[in-house]
Amino acid sequence: MRDGRHVLTSELSGMTADDLVRAMVGRQVVQRASSGGHEPGEEILRVDRLTREGVFTDVSLRVRSGEIVVLAGLVGSGRSEVARAIFGIDRYDAGAVTLAGQPLRKAAPAAAMAAGAGYVPEDRRQQGLVMEMSVQQNMALASLDRLRTAGLVRSAAERAFAADWAQRLRLKYGKLTDPVSRLSGGNQQKVVLAKWLGRRPSLLIVDEPTRGIDIATKAEVHALLAQLAADGVAILMISSELPEVLQNGDRILVMREGRLTAEYGHEEASEEKIMAAATGQTEAQAS
């Protein structure tokens, strides 16, 4: 069924996963070609030997404009911790982060935001959204400084901002003033994305962007990220879902127990290679 209508009855044999997905989503889910077909631009994010004792060690990576770099690995390998340290939510003990050519102060999310970074966190209910606030307020939360005149937030501007992004992201909602808790998981994730996209970031860090959301919205989010990359945004994605990793990553970095263990380009990557690097087994063992 889709959108309240019965669309297909079929025997399972002879159907591929793609057929099933297409029927559920209503359109072809396109596999992202490598680099989305364009050359990545200048370096936006550079991380040098980032270390936090007991959590991650000697992590170095680069993300260029227009690239999607995916951090893959098992749960607990330290990927979210690295991302949080880059953005400034957590501290780190050694190493450096450079954003858009300038060294980035540690443990200062406001500085990261000012330098053009955005962060879509892993746990959207606790970290990504203020559940009691409305859709509109959540979207505007990271952009309050741009929606005000003479210090006062203009609610008309806020409403217009939210309505604009709701439309762009094809958000399904009742009213913009509804509490965001009323939206489905996929739409909540869109609100979080809108919050950051509204700032026109040059670097977007997304942590498990499609966890717990429906297939149709998942496809929309992937298409959105691809479009952002095509527009020049540098994207650092963390994902534990191998199909998502393989589909979206221009480059795939694998972490295991706090260290980077492998890097693969889009063409050369495969499930077996990634799992091998993520678990420390040889490829033959991992398949």
């Binding site: 959108d3 959204l129 203020v130 937030v153 439309q167 909602y173 996929g186 739409n187 717990g212 429906d214």
Partner: protein, 356 residues
């Protein structure tokens, strides 16, 4: 996990607004805040009627003046307290800061300092008092409940040390008149005027600025606020400093009103301030409440105390009424089925820097 199939469950296809749920949305989301303030407004009216019934003096301008004068300081202290509680913290040191600044005022006056210089020193004292609270809460990561219980004792102790058992009463009439005379050409006591001005300022900050929005966010969901780049520590520190400064002002007003500086000025009033704020519809858990509600609660509280005073009801026993109102103010939301479990944030620890 989310019931994500709901996303596609309604007519209209991708991209269109979903009008279907509007009626239900309106009913449920009709801000419980508005309901609270309406309830408060009704309470205020009821109290006014009650007051008028029990005493012919209640509705006189003289009485209004007296009420304003005696409740002014608590009202003023309730304003920064509102913001602090909404942000998820609490400040129990307010009355002690009041007492400490009153003591400093008396102490320096006895040493023949010029009044203007004294004002500066008292303001500085308030700022330092608030800064100590703020830094201990944000930098060391201590729960504000514990910290402000400690500073409550510490500041009261400082007041004791400064003045000892002495009382200073020889303040110039020009200042002590605020307790007796209204603002020229009006019936308004100075206390009430100051309260009104501050209420407007705090109201604008809370409800119309980015900082105010941030305060609600950090109270409702401290993690999400952090992840949205809100400078939680800076704002909370500023809130405590503001509270310290405002309480120092209240200390000055209290001293002049009573024309006496004595170490136990304001003793025990912190709980009354918290009670008034909670009565105003501010949730003890943070993230909810409005300044208008607190203003109404202040009026209700002052009116009630005054009405009881006029009936010669034992002043100490008005505590029963305050306590009762406080209980009502916390049980009522539960009846509107807003179940929350767990500890209010001001009683929890947070990591000293970022998240551990």
């Amino acid at each position: 996990m989310e019931p994500d199939l709901n996303a596609s469950a309604v007519s209209g296809g991708p991209g269109s607004e979903v009008p279907g749920g509007a009626a239900a949305a309106l009913r449920a989301a009709a801000p419980s805040a508005l309901r609270w303030e309406s309830g408060l407004a009704v309470l205020v009216v009821a109290i006014i009627i009650f007051g008028a019934m029990v005493s012919p003096q209640f509705l006189t301008s003289g009485n209004f003046f007296n009420t304003g004068v005696t409740s002014g300081e608590i009202a003023i202290m309730a304003l920064p307290m509102t913001l602090i509680i909404i942000s998820g913290e609490i400040d129990l040191s307010v009355a002690s800061t009041l007492g400490m600044s009153s003591a400093l005022l008396g102490y320096l006056w006895a040493k023949h300092w010029p009044m203007l210089a004294i004002f500066v020193m008292v303001a500085l004292l308030g700022i330092v008092a608030g800064l100590i609270n703020g830094l201990l809460v944000t930098r060391v990561g201590l729960p504000s409940l514990a910290v402000t219980i400690g500073t409550l004792a510490l500041y009261r102790g400082v007041a004791l040390i400064l003045l000892g058992p002495n009382t200073i009463s020889n303040f110039p009439a020009g200042y002590t008149n605020i307790g007796v005379l209204p603002i020229p050409h009006t019936q308004l006591p100075y206390n009430v005027a100051i309260f009104a001005v501050l209420a407007v300022i705090f109201g604008i900050v809370l409800h119309a600025t980015a900082t105010g929005r941030s305060i609600y966010a950090m109270g409702a969901s401290p993690e999400a606020a952090l992840f949205a780049g809100i400078r939680v520590k800076r704002i909370k520190t500023m809130l405590f400093v503001t509270s310290g400064l405002v309480c120092a002002l209240a200390g000055v007003l209290w001293t002049f009103r009573l024309a006496t500086a004595v170490q136990n000025n304001g003793y025990g009033q912190e709980l009354a301030v918290v009670a008034v704020v909670l009565l105003g519809g501010v949730s003890i858990f943070g993230g909810k409440g409005s300044l208008a509600g607190v203003v109404l609660a202040v009026i209700a509280f002052a009116g009630l105390q005054n009405a009881l005073l006029l009936t010669n009801f034992n002043q100490e026993a008005t505590g029963i009424v305050i306590g009762g109102l406080l209980l009502v103010s916390v049980f009522a939301p539960n009846l509107i089925a807003l179940r929350r479990v767990g500890l209010p944030r001001w009683a929890r620890f947070r990591s000293p820097r970022g998240r551990a």
